[in-house]
Each structure stands twice: as C-alpha cells, then as structure tokens.
Symmetry: C2
Amino acid sequence: MGEFDLIQRYFKSQSHPAAEAVPVGIGDDCAVINPTPGMQWLVSSDMLVEGRHFLSTVAPERLGHKALAVNLSDLAACGATPRAFTLALSLPRVDETFLSGFAQGLFALAQAHGIALVGGDTTAGPLNICITVMGEVPRGQALLRSGARVGDDIYVTGQTLGDARLALEVFRGTARLASGQDFEQVRRAMECPQPRVQLGLALRGLAHSAIDVSDGLLGDLGHVLKASGVGARLDVDALPRSAVLAAQDLTLQRECGLAGGDDYELVFSAPGDAAGRAAVAAAAAASGTPVQRIGSIEAESGLRLYDGAGQALALQFNSFDHFKSP
Amino acid sequence: MGEFDLIQRYFKSQSHPAAEAVPVGIGDDCAVINPTPGMQWLVSSDMLVEGRHFLSTVAPERLGHKALAVNLSDLAACGATPRAFTLALSLPRVDETFLSGFAQGLFALAQAHGIALVGGDTTAGPLNICITVMGEVPRGQALLRSGARVGDDIYVTGQTLGDARLALEVFRGTARLASGQDFEQVRRAMECPQPRVQLGLALRGLAHSAIDVSDGLLGDLGHVLKASGVGARLDVDALPRSAVLAAQDLTLQRECGLAGGDDYELVFSAPGDAAGRAAVAAAAAASGTPVQRIGSIEAESGLRLYDGAGQALALQFNSFDHFKSP
C-alpha cells in the first residue's frame, strides 16, 4: 500500500469535517478553514516518540487516543473550543493492524470533541506522531499561565493524579502493585488520559490562570508562578490520589503526584473568596469534572509545600525534562 | 541544557511575532492568534525525516531553511499569505552547533516571508522535524487542485526543475557531473528550495488550479487532473531545465524533470486565451518568478506526453512515494 492509498484508507475516509466550517479538508496542499468571526485562534503542537511518550507495548487504539488527547489537553488548558487538527505520522512500515487501531482510537476521541482532521503528512521513518490542534476562544478570554493573582485558590482536576507515573514505575520494575486489576487501572491513566476540555470551557471568565499537567505538577505550576510573578503554597496531602497510589509508600505517592507527569489534568487558579469557590464548584459540576483545592497563590515568590497538618515539607523533585534522564 | 533552556535559547528568543497579530506566542499551552476578519485560514503540515527528506550531510542552516520552505510551498500553492508556524523537533541529543545553524536558516526564511514561530515542541528521539504552517486568503480565493478547466494552459515555475533529483542521483552514485561547481548548484536546488509565495499571491483570482511539485511533476499534476476531472497534454521538451541537467542524457533529463520530486516549484493552470497569458506574464514579472508554459488541460482524461516536435512519447515514471522504494 502506498502513501496516498494509506492516507485515503485510514484517515481521509474517516475524516468528516463540516463543510461550512472546513470547506477544504484532506487532499489539497492546505486545508481551508473558516474561523468564527470575533474569535481568536489557538494553536498547539505535540510530538510523541516511542520510548519517551509511549512504550512499544501500548495498544494502537490507545496510542491514537493519547496522541490527540495530549494536544486537546493544551486547548483545554486555554479554555478553547477544539476546531481542527493535522496529523503527521512517520512509520517504520505500513502495518494495517497498527493503522486501523490507531485511527480508531484517534477518531473516537476526535468525534467526542467535535474536532476535524483537516490535513497532515505520512512518511516512512522511525515511529513519530506529531499533531497540531487548533481551537477558538472569544477574544481576550484564553486562559493563560500569566494570570494567577495573590489570593487565588489553586485547584487540580481528576482523582488519579500520579497514576500515570506509577504505571511507568511498574513498567520499569521499581514499583509493584497488588493485582493485575490495579495495574490495568494505572496503565489506563498513562495510556488513555482524558483531556479536560469541558472544564476548560466552563472556566472561561472564571479561572485567572491554567496549565495542563504534562511534565509534573510542581514543574507545570512553576511555569504559572513564573509567568504570573507570584508564589504559592501547596497542601501536599490534599492532592487527589487513587486507592492504588494511596497503597504505595508515602514517598512514592508524593513523587508520583508532585513530579510524575503525563497526567493531562488541569491546574488552575481562581478567586479564593466564597463566590469564586462556588463558581468553581458549579463549573466542575456542570462539566462533570472532579476538582480538588490544593493550595493558594501568595505574593512571596517560590513554591512552599506543607503536609495536611500544616508542617512545612522540604521535598526536591525534578519535573520531567526530555533531555535529562528522568 | 534542558528542554526549556533549549526552547528559550534557540527558538523563543528569535521569535518576534507582532503583538497585535499574535497576542500570545511561544511559552503558553497554546499560541493565540488574531485571524484577519474576512479571511479564511489555511493549514498544512509536513514532516521531514533523515534519509527520506534530507541527507545526513546537509548543513544545519539549509535544513532549517528547507523544513520551513517545503511548508511555505504548500501555502504558496494555495495563494495564501503566510501568518504563523509551529515547530516540533525530535533530536537525538542537544547539539548546539546543529541547533544554532538550524535556527539561523529557519528564521532567515521566516523573516523573509513575515511568518512568526508561535509554538511547538522539542523532545529527544530520532531526528524528525514537523512544521505546521498557517496562512490566510480572502474568502473563496484559495487556489485549489480541483479548479483546472478545459482550455487552460499549464505552467511550471523556475528554471531548475529536476535539479534536486539530479543531486540525489549524484549522491547515490548513479549520475556524474562535470565539476564541483555544477554539484553545488544542483545540491543547492535540493537543499535550499525557494517557496513561490509571491507568485502564489499574484495568481489569486487568475490561476484556476495550482499544486506544488514535491513528489514529481507527473504525480502532482496527476492529482490536479483527478481532482478537476480533466486530462492534459504536456510538451516534455518545454520543461525548464538548468544547463547542468541539460548536459545529462535525455532519459535522465526527462526522469528528473517529470518524476524527480523535491522541486517545490508551482504547477498551475490558467486561461489559455491571450488575456490569460498576458495576466500570467504580468504576475510572473510582478513577483520576479520565472514561469514556463508546458502544456494544456484537455477534456479527455489521462496525461499525454509529447516531445517538442509533437511526437507522442510513451514514458513510464513513478512519482515519489514514501512507502515504495524510489
């Protein structure tokens, strides 16, 4: 099967962009898209490499899901409505089992979020997946890293922060779980992250800052603090964690939750007064997204960690950096 | 040097998007861009892999140039004004000589075309470069593959069609050139293609169809014919060729010109009457782009090749397909 057959069979045939929104999709030199008047256009690219962003053991369906999910998570962190994406794929060979599974996982998530595949590229080479997503927000309403204010509460989404890292440690042989069922749960967190798109939309005009947790909570929150020129305190024991993670020793729990990475949850800040808290609770309920308050923004720069009893903790973790050994 | 330092040092520091057009560039989860009211948004992605799209011997400056050039060529083929691009880069290691050269070639071309780097990704892995470009056209004015009409003339840009393929054949040891100077000329065609952005803009409202020659003239023109539901005749001897290519035997000349690939010239069709020809000549002159008339669109499907004396030629070439051996 050649390159053009491959594009047609697995990607073009399953791409059904709305004709009004995307007058020209896959099959020309460029896709043509009609931006919605009055909206700003948001763009993000993520590249996934085997051994860095996924293991060779991942099911193709999950890889297709994850490749798009990590990109949708960037749109979610900005409060954007997903519109379109491109897919560039380098493959060692044309493996139809892989491609059909990959396309199935990819398009299931795309359809769930109403985002259209509009173009891309396929080539032979070491396995590499690069997706560029585009979305929209009303002018001036994008959630940014730079908007955190002193007195904001800090929240994180989800109930399984750190599970993805725990799964990686199990794959590496440095952690053990009680059962295969536990393993499947944390493996799912690593391989099937759910981008928090609906919550991102609900946080427009409410959250002062947001970022998604891709490199680890401390590192990603650090980007927010730096961009906003503020500091923060975190209650480490308030971090949500699954029962599987909670069964591990406390050091590993904290390492996975604070510096794990690959979570694709949102960390955001919002007004710490009663009205702000009520609005966040309403946004969480409306979008069906669990959120947990884990700290607050302070004027003093730096990030201070406390346990549930209010005792200061001296912990040192490095967030994930693709050019350092983890 | 870590990932964030690397982004800062080589890419963010050299990216100077206009604040009004790109209120948020590199450094948040997404870039935020203001589309121009009334314009449609055009998107294209290309992924470059070592050994497929470039050789390990390429200078980093030229690789940076080429990675963006092949993407700008897609915008040119649609008649789009370049606006923004993202860069995702997988690197085996942090090599500062490579990165500074790559960035230099990339940004020199970006600045020449007024396109802003707005985001992207860096990771460790086998060398892979994925760029997504975005541009704009007035609503309904994108040049497409599907617009060719019976009676159109067919044109190709440039004076060195096939030189890139000739360079590849020299690298492969299947062709020889008279001098090192000749080699540098064809190598430059392969490594430093010049995207025909200005001509693409000048062809808005004039050309009925356009495509860029990335996989070989016959294959790429074939996409136009198929999308437009027409056929064509080509005068093979009318193909522009450099003196270096013209010194090769006729079979190799024709193979390089018709099926070479990697040219990044535009093939377009425009009205074949006197007014159409005058308008194309004016567009070529205004944009400083050589164009050559090489054939015409016909109702009968298929592509018929003739020599300069009007004799039908029976030639069989395959255009480049990344999943077949060339």
